[in-house]
Each structure stands twice: as structure tokens, then as C-alpha cells.
């Protein structure tokens, strides 16, 4: 009697069904695992992307909003005789340009500038250098203060000492404690609004015949943001 070969008996129909179910279950589990993995990858990716975007935006905003660190007060510039304190800058360029200009002085006292001048007056917002410099060319003076270090009373005093025509008063973030009065080619820094040298500067430079275009207008052009009067 021959022993039947050791072969598994052909699966029954029931077994076949069970196997198929097991395979389907296996495949389903694999798909689920892949889906889960993808979801985690997706979430991690999205979070990373968000962090990247938020970080970029924050950096840009902070860099643009934070005023440059306030300058140290140079004692030699804010005490002593008027003549020793006035800084003069001869031979400035007066080309008209439509681009932004990097000025060597801060606030600027002259140089290339926009074809349109800033209307003289009192402003409570920062003004465009390129327009204000053109007003200096017409004989105006520009009184500037750092809003971070100047009190409301001091601002009121600056407005009171500014001539009613041919003068601009505006904040200039970053110049620190030393306020500035500028004319074309000249600047005086001071920390006390009652400092008599300011009047001396006005006597010498306000509407000076030595400005490049004395008596040219200081109205009828650019009305800057935040005009107060």
C-alpha cells in the first residue's frame, strides 16, 4: 500500500475565503499605515512651512518697524558756542532723481533729491528725505526729533520756535536725544528746546540768500503724511 504523497490537502472553499480575507486585511493595514505616515509627514511639513513663513514675516516686520538704535549724544555737538557747534557741509550735489537716495548725514542736509519738494509745515509722521531735501534747497529749515526720546511738551516747544513759513517740523526716528535743525549744507544738534543757539541758526540759515534757490516755493508740491498745520 503506497503512502499517499505528503501533500497538503487542497484547501477547502472555507479556507480559501479565510485566506483571502486575511490578505485583504493585511493590505488594508498596509494602506492604513501608509496613510497614517503620509498624514504625519503632511502635518509636520505644514507646521514647518508655517513656521518658516511666520518667521520670515516677523523678521521683515521687526526689521522694518524697529527704529535704528538711537545714537549716542556727542557732548561736543550739544554744548558750547553756536559757531563751534554748527556743522557745515559745502559742495553738496543738487541733482534731481526719482530713486531713493542714501544720504551721508542723518537727517540729511542736502544732496540729490526728488523733483517735488515737501510742503513746509508741521507733520507728526516721518517724511520722505528726498522731498524734504528739496525744500532745504529752497531755503527752508527742517526741525527733527526722535519720537522715542522727545516729550509732547518738547514737540510743542519745537513747533512754537519754528518760523510760520519755510520750515518743516517732523519726527525722525533713530536720531536719539539730540534734536536737529537743518538747512541746506548746515546742521545744528541740541538737546534743550530752549537752547538759544537755535535762534542763532535761524538768523543765519532760515531763507538764507546762500541757499541754492532762495525764495523758491515751499508749498504747492508734496503734502506729506500726517500734516498737522
Amino acid at each position: 500500500m503506497a503512502t499517499p504523497p505528503n501533500r497538503p490537502a487542497p484547501p477547502t472553499v472555507k479556507q480559501q475565503r479565510a485566506d483571502k480575507r486575511a490578505q485583504q486585511l493585511e493590505a488594508f493595514k498596509k494602506r492604513e499605515a501608509a496613510r497614517k505616515r503620509n498624514r504625519i509627514l503632511g502635518i509636520v511639513g505644514a507646521v514647518l512651512a508655517l513656521v518658516l513663513v511666520a518667521g520670515t514675516v516677523t523678521t521683515v516686520v521687526v526689521v522694518n518697524l524697529t527704529p535704528p538704535a538711537a545714537q549716542e549724544v556727542d557732548e561736543a555737538l550739544v554744548s558750547g558756542e553756536y559757531r563751534d557747534r554748527v556743522q557745515t557741509y559745502p559742495g553738496l550735489d543738487s541733482t534731481h532723481v526719482s530713486s531713493r537716495v542714501t544720504y551721508e548725514q542723518e537727517p540729511p542736509v542736502g544732496g540729490a533729491h526728488n523733483a517735488a519738494w515737501l510742503n513746509c509745515g508741521v507733520y507728526d509722521q516721518k517724511q520722505q528725505n528726498e522731498n524734504a531735501v528739496h525744500s532745504l534747497e529752497h531755503g527752508a529749515v527742517w526741525i527733527t526729533y526722535d519720537p522715542a526720546t522727545t516729550t509732547d511738551d518738547e514737540i510743542a516747544a519745537l513747533i512754537a520756535l519754528a518760523p510760520t513759513t519755510y520750515s518743516i517740523v517732523s519726527p525722525y526716528p533713530g536720531i536719539g536725544e539730540a534734536m536737529a535743525i537743518s538747512a541746506w549744507g548746515a546742521q545744528l544738534r541740541f538737546t534743550d528746546v530752549a537752547d538759544p543757539v537755535v535762534e542763532e541758526f535761524l538768523g543765519e540759515y532760515w531763507r538764507s540768500p546762500d541757499s541754492p534757490e532762495p525764495n523758491a516755493p515751499c508749498s504747492g508740491a508734496v503734502e506729506g503724511p500726517g500734516r498737522v498745520s
Binding site: E204, N215, S219, G220
Partner: protein, 214 residues
């Protein structure tokens, strides 16, 4: 002998000096040398400074209304005012400059009206309770109204502001004419009076003929 000669020489030198001085005086008078420049605290200088600021506002208002109306009569009047007053401002600037006087004075506006008049009668400081301290100036709010208006509204605001502005200018011209006899300033102030008196009448007529506001 030596003493007599010494006296003669001294007398001759003295005579020579006298002749020179007399000659210089005669020459100076006959050559029509310019009168001395007015001082920085004079009524003439004060008027030249204040009137420039007063005129500057008139120029601004005239140019504003010219940009805001198609009315040819108003546009022509505005053009006339802007160009005339800008030219007069240039004259005033130039006179101060030629006399070596600063454009700036630490004195408040109109302080020069406290100086006595040339006939010796006392001065009295004109009290101008408008911004800028001068008679007839428009306030920043009034200027903003003009800037915001168009058409007949702009014309009405312009006329209502410019009539008192001119009247204030006339007061200032009257005030300097009794306080100075500097020829250039007398001529300028007289010219301002003549032109602005006529323009006030014209503007009053135009305002009366303007259609009433809605």
C-alpha cells in the same frame, strides 16, 4: 623865525584838510548817495518780513482755487494775484538782502507796529488774534476747507477768505506808511494798497453775484 614858519605850515595843513572835507561833503550830496539802509528793528524791515509771510498765504490760496474751478474770471484773478504777490515777495526778500538784513527776526509778527510813526505820534501794537499773528490770515482749517472743495464751493470759500486777507494786507500797508519814509518800502506799500483796494471791490462783486449755496 622858526616859530613863524611852523605856524604857517600848520595853517596850510589845516586849510588843506578843511578843503578836502568840504569837497568830500559837496561831492557826496551832489552825487545822490543812497540814504543809509534801515535797521533790522525798523518798521520797514518788520513790514518786509511779515508781508512776505502774508503774501505767501495769498499765493497758496490763489493757486488752490485756480486748480479747483473752470471759471475763467476767477482763474485770471487768481493768476494775477499769485504772480503779482510772488513778485512782490521777491522784491521784499531782495531789499532785506541788499541791506544786509536777515530774513529772520526773533520778534513776534507785527511787533514793528508798536514803533512810533514818523510824525512823532505814538505807535500802538496792532493786535491780530489770528494764527501767524497778522491781520486777515486764514486758519489751517479754513485752508483745508478750500483744499477739499471744488467748483463754485471752492470759489465761494476763496472769496470769503481772500477779501479779509486783502483787508488785513491793507491795514499792514497803512501801518508801515505812517512809520517809514524809506523810498523803496513806501513805493511797495503804496502799490500794494492800490492793487488790493481794487481787488477787494472786485471780489465783493463776484461774491455777491455767486449763486447761493445749496
Amino acid at each position: 623865525m622858526t616859530r613863524t614858519r611852523g605856524r604857517t605850515v600848520a595853517g596850510l595843513v589845516l586849510a588843506a584838510v578843511l578843503v578836502l572835507v568840504a569837497g568830500f561833503a559837496v561831492g557826496r550830496v551832489s552825487s545822490g548817495a543812497p540814504p543809509p539802509a534801515p535797521s533790522t528793528d525798523s518798521a520797514a524791515a518788520g513790514f518786509l518780513r511779515d508781508m512776505q509771510a502774508h503774501h505767501a498765504q495769498a499765493v497758496d490760496m490763489a493757486l488752490l482755487v485756480r486748480d479747483r474751478t473752470d471759471d475763467e474770471v476767477i482763474r485770471t484773478i487768481a493768476y494775477d494775484m499769485a504772480v503779482t504777490q510772488a513778485a512782490q515777495s521777491g522784491q521784499m526778500y531782495g531789499l532785506l538782502d541788499a541791506w544786509g538784513l536777515p530774513q529772520r527776526s526773533a520778534q513776534p509778527a507785527m511787533a514793528w507796529t508798536a514803533l512810533p510813526s514818523t510824525d512823532g505820534s505814538g505807535g500802538h501794537h496792532m493786535d491780530a488774534s489770528t494764527p501767524g499773528g497778522m491781520p486777515g490770515l486764514a486758519t489751517p482749517e479754513q485752508l483745508a476747507q478750500l483744499r477739499a472743495a471744488t467748483g463754485d464751493d471752492a470759489v465761494r470759500i476763496f472769496l470769503e477768505l481772500m477779501i479779509p486777507h486783502h483787508e488785513g494786507g491793507l491795514e499792514m500797508a497803512d501801518a508801515v506808511l505812517v512809520r517809514t519814509d524809506v523810498p523803496q518800502v513806501v513805493s511797495l506799500a503804496t502799490g500794494i494798497q492800490r492793487a488790493q483796494r481794487t481787488e477787494v471791490r472786485l471780489m465783493q462783486d463776484l461774491l455777491a453775484n455767486l449763486q447761493p449755496a445749496d
